[in-house]
């Protein structure tokens, strides 16, 4: 059946089953490949997007559950202030290595800073421990979040 998804401010009509995961609709149907597949079980955070400003794991978010929620992906997170600040910090501190998990890391960090503009280490642990990085960029992720937040 057809669904109209509001993604990065633009409506997109997709014709898939309601139980199709948002992740695969973004990647395979709409061609937005910045959101990554990592585990399929909400265990790694690579697929993190925002729905109405909240970080969700798109691999476990079905299309019919999104409704008319506003979806924001890595492709547009630079248009919100927290996203732009994080991207800048990510570059200044040279966070990325392979980069594959970094879309999800930035999306989780942006949701953190929206709710908690001046996060503590514990806040960062709580918000970011759902995001796995096998390259081990965590030390720089923590530093970059603090840098972006000015703490």
């Amino acid at each position: 059946m057809a669904f109209t998804l509001k993604i990065n401010g633009t409506p997109h009509e997709v014709d898939v089953d309601g139980d199709a995961p948002l992740l695969w609709v973004l990647r395979d149907v709409l061609g937005m490949t910045g959101t990554k597949f990592g585990c399929g079980q909400a265990l790694c955070g690579a697929c993190t997007v925002h729905v109405d400003g909240q970080a969700v794991r798109s691999c476990q978010t079905t299309i019919d559950s999104v409704g008319d929620g506003a979806v924001t992906t890595i492709e547009a997170i630079g248009q919100v202030p927290q996203g732009a600040a994080l991207q800048k910090a990510w570059l200044e501190l040279e966070v990325v290595q392979c980069g594959y998990c970094q879309s999800g890391q930035i999306m989780s960090a942006a949701a953190l800073l929206k709710d908690t503009p001046k996060p503590t280490d514990d806040d960062i642990d709580a918000a970011m421990s759902g995001n796995v990085c096998r390259c081990g960029t965590y030390q720089r992720i923590r530093a970059a979040i603090k840098h972006a937040a000015g703490v």
Binding site: R27, D28, Q41, Q97, C98, G99, S129, R134
Partner: protein, 735 residues
């Protein structure tokens, strides 16, 4: 799904003067290309390397393309998988070519052994911490050739002596500084000039470097923070279908029943492909494909490996490790020295099978047509991949095109082409392009694992506590014997014994041997750090045992055995000093040290740990000292030390793949645990600057960390960890 045997590659190289060698300097798989390795890099015609080359493009070698519009493209012989190689190799080229990093674009090299072989590895493979080591000279030469020709073209146009002109930031300037010509303006003329031999170009003195040695910005960062970076898994083609795959859970098994009708009933599913060893559901999108795979309710015939268990594998290793193996090193008379020693220490060490679990799950896109095959994949081994696809399809190699991609984590997994082979087998049944993606569960359960090793060690100490005898037997799978058989001579796998055969210490009587034991039903392969990741844990733990037996401080004891080895001594001392070795710590806290020479670099780490009463281990701080000789980008080195350390630490704390009934017992990140941000220690890097030859970095911290941590656990608890991962139950406080 047997691993690759490189028939063609081996045949190709019989023409090359070769010797398999092991110099205690990293994974030297390589045929030593006698004389200047750079020459082989320039031996082949450089044309047709880059697609859509415009007329008049300046292409003096395989690495540089400057077209008349001024676009400078640097062709990367090694693949970027996070280790920063696109940046460091670009820096080598740009330093001599005299362009700025923000003036260049980088492009993956196609498979081309003659142009892009890594002279240390002997194949166009990215691995072994060998990229900077192998390309340090050839890429600077390539850049210098380019600069010389562009200057020559300008000088010719101005009718002046080229020696009076200079180049900077992609522009040639005359002696007066008044005339300028950009590289783009010179490209067409420079392309017509004869290319000088690499050996004839003069390279900058290191003191004149303006880029090498700086914290230059990574060239791949901007596209990795906003979703633009394209990995193999991001491939999209007109008419492309996606396929979810289920591989027989037992190696060698095949599908017994498949409910094709139920799978096809799922909306968006187009086709069910049965290749016995695996079932693929081809669909419009992965959501449908995965749903179709569930509906297919596959039942498997396990085949001959259905009874395999870890317990049996270990029992077999234990038995086999009692037999003598291929001798890696034999100095002095170990038997006599052991018999006469004042004190004897014996130990058994074990390390588990490990998965790679790169964040980008295995995937490959294939478009197989009658006369050609296109492959979109991120691979560390493009020439191997091309050869295997050619063999599988019956096509000539030049009809197999490999479109390499940024890699979302390699760690050795993508040195294997099994994922591509599987995708091609599926694509043979599919009309049009198909992207095959493994689930995380498939990725972990059908990995090619770091081998399980079972080691026996004995040492004899003299009255002063010095080791007068050292024996070390390693039993386990030989990855090399499968991957590159010519390197295994008389049963000795040089990788399996690396960093064990030649520990950095003065050991007057030493005997090290290797017993090859292949576990049935388990595929093994390279894993970040290769041989040393296992061996340094064992050697450095055992050395700690000897220090304890000798009632000496672990750092002081090691220093006493490193007098002949100043670079090892220097990193050890630096790490110990920076970690404030010897300063007081609370109860159940401890420091441990480890030192190694591998991949051409000297590395030492001190770990500081706290072991809670319940046995849980908190690694609080890691101090790493590294001497990798002349280096390209210190920021990349720091990043690699941080990340490489965590990769090894993750395995030490959590990593283990086990088998039951032929099946892997772990499946996703809830059972094969990655480190997360709330668990990671601070990692400090202290880099030694000198003029030694460049050494590898990417794997050094991974190999050195485990023993530092387990030695720290011993310091904190008095309990020696002799097998990994660390069993926290055994570390519970008895009080």
């Amino acid at each position: 799904m047997d691993g690759p045997v490189l028939r063609e590659q081996t045949a190709d190289e019989t023409a090359v003067s070769r010797r398999a060698f092991l110099q205690g300097a990293g994974l030297l798989l390589g045929f030593a290309l006698t004389s200047a390795s750079a020459e082989s890099v320039f031996a082949a015609p450089a044309s047709q390397v880059v697609e859509n080359e415009v007329t008049g493009t300046f292409a003096p070698n395989g690495f540089i393309r400057i077209n008349p519009t001024g676009a400078v493209t640097l062709v990367m012989p090694m693949v970027e998988m996070g280790q920063g190689v696109f940046t460091s190799l670009s820096m080598l080229l740009a330093e001599e070519l005299e362009v700025k990093l923000d003036q260049i674009q980088v492009q993956h090299a196609p498979p081309n052994h003659a142009l892009y072989v890594n002279s240390i590895i002997g194949i166009q493979n990215t691995g072994g911490s060998a990229s900077v080591r192998a390309f340090w000279t050839p890429l600077r030469q390539a850049g210098a050739i380019g600069r010389n020709l562009l200057i020559a073209a300008a000088a010719k146009r101005w009718n002046v002596d080229p020696a009076t002109c200079r180049a900077k930031d992609g522009v040639v300037v005359d002696a007066s500084g008044s005339k300028h010509l950009s590289y783009g303006e010179l490209a067409e003329a420079a392309a017509k000039l004869p290319v000088p031999p690499a050996a004839n170009v003069k390279l900058k003195e290191p003191k004149d470097f303006t880029l090498i040695g700086t914290r230059a910005k990574r060239v791949d960062s901007p596209i990795k923070i906003d979703g633009r970076a394209l990995y193999g898994i991001d491939t999209r083609l007109p008419g492309m279908k996606v396929a979810a795959v289920a591989i027989s859970p037992v190696l060698g098994g095949k599908a017994k029943t498949v409910d094709e009708k139920a799978a096809m009933a799922v909306r968006g599913v187009r086709q069910v492909v049965n290749i016995d060893e695996a079932i693929a559901i081809v669909a419009d999108h992965m959501g449908a494909a995965k749903k179709g795979l569930e509906a297919a309710a596959i039942r498997w015939d396990d085949g001959p490996n259905g009874k395999i268990s870890s317990a049996d594998i270990v029992k077999h290793l234990e038995e086999e490790s009692k037999k003598p193996g291929a001798v890696a090193r034999n100095v002095g008379d170990v038997g006599k020295a052991l018999a006469e020693a004042a004190q004897r220490v014996d130990a058994i060490y074990q390390v588990p099978f490990l998965a790679h679990a790169a964040m980008e799950p295995m995937n490959c896109t294939v478009h197989l047509q009658k006369d050609r095959c296109n492959i979109w994949v991120g691979t560390q081994a493009p020439t191997i991949t091309q050869s295997l696809v050619a063999e599988l399809t019956g096509l000539p190699k030049d009809a197999v095109k490999i479109h390499n991609h940024l890699i979302g984590g390699g760690f050795g997994r993508r040195l294997e082409a099994d994922g591509t082979v599987l995708a091609v087998k599926i694509a043979k049944h599919v009309d049009g392009p198909v992207k095959v993606i493994w689930s995380r569960e498939e990725d972990i359960q059908h990995d090619m694992y770091r081998p399980y090793y079972f080691d026996r060690l004995s040492a004899g100490l003299d009255a002063a506590g010095r080791p007068v005898a050292w024996t070390h037997r390693i039993a386990g799978s030989s990855v090399m014997a499968r991957y590159y058989p010519p390197y295994v001579k008389d049963g000795l796998d040089p990788d399996a014994v690396e960093a064990a055969a030649e520990p950095p210490y003065a050991l007057p009587n030493i005997h090290v041997d290797f017993v090859r034991v292949e576990p049935p039903g388990v595929r093994t392969s390279w894993w970040r750090g290769v041989g040393p990741t296992h061996n340094v844990f064992v050697v450095e733990s055992f050395m700690d045992e000897l220090a304890h037996a000798a009632k000496q401080d672990p750092v002081a004891y090691r220093k006493g055995l490193l007098g002949h080895n100043p670079r090892a001594l220097a990193v050890l001392s630096l790490a110990a000093d920076k970690a404030r070795w010897g300063s007081p710590l609370p109860a159940r806290h401890g420091r441990g040290i480890s030192v190694q020479f591998a991949y051409g670099s000297y590395t030492s780490q001190v770990a500081e740990v706290e072991v809670a009463a319940d046995g849980s281990v908190k690694v609080k701080r890691i101090v790493c000292a590294i001497d990798c000789g002349m280096y390209v980008n210190p920021d990349t080195i720091e990043a690699q030390v941080q990340g490489g350390t965590l990769f090894g630490l993750t395995a030490a704390l959590h990593g283990s793949i086990t088998f039951k009934d032929g099946r892997v017992e772990q499946s996703n990140f809830d059972t094969y645990l990655p480190m997360r941000i709330d668990e990671v220690p601070v990692v400090e890097t202290h880099l030694i600057k000198n003029a030694e030859a460049p050494g590898g970095v990417g794997e050094a911290p991974t190999a050195v960390v485990s023993a530092a941590v387990t030695n720290a656990i011993f310091a904190a608890t008095g309990k020696r960890v002799r097998s990994l991962p660390i069993d926290t139950n055994s570390l519970k406080s008895s009080s």
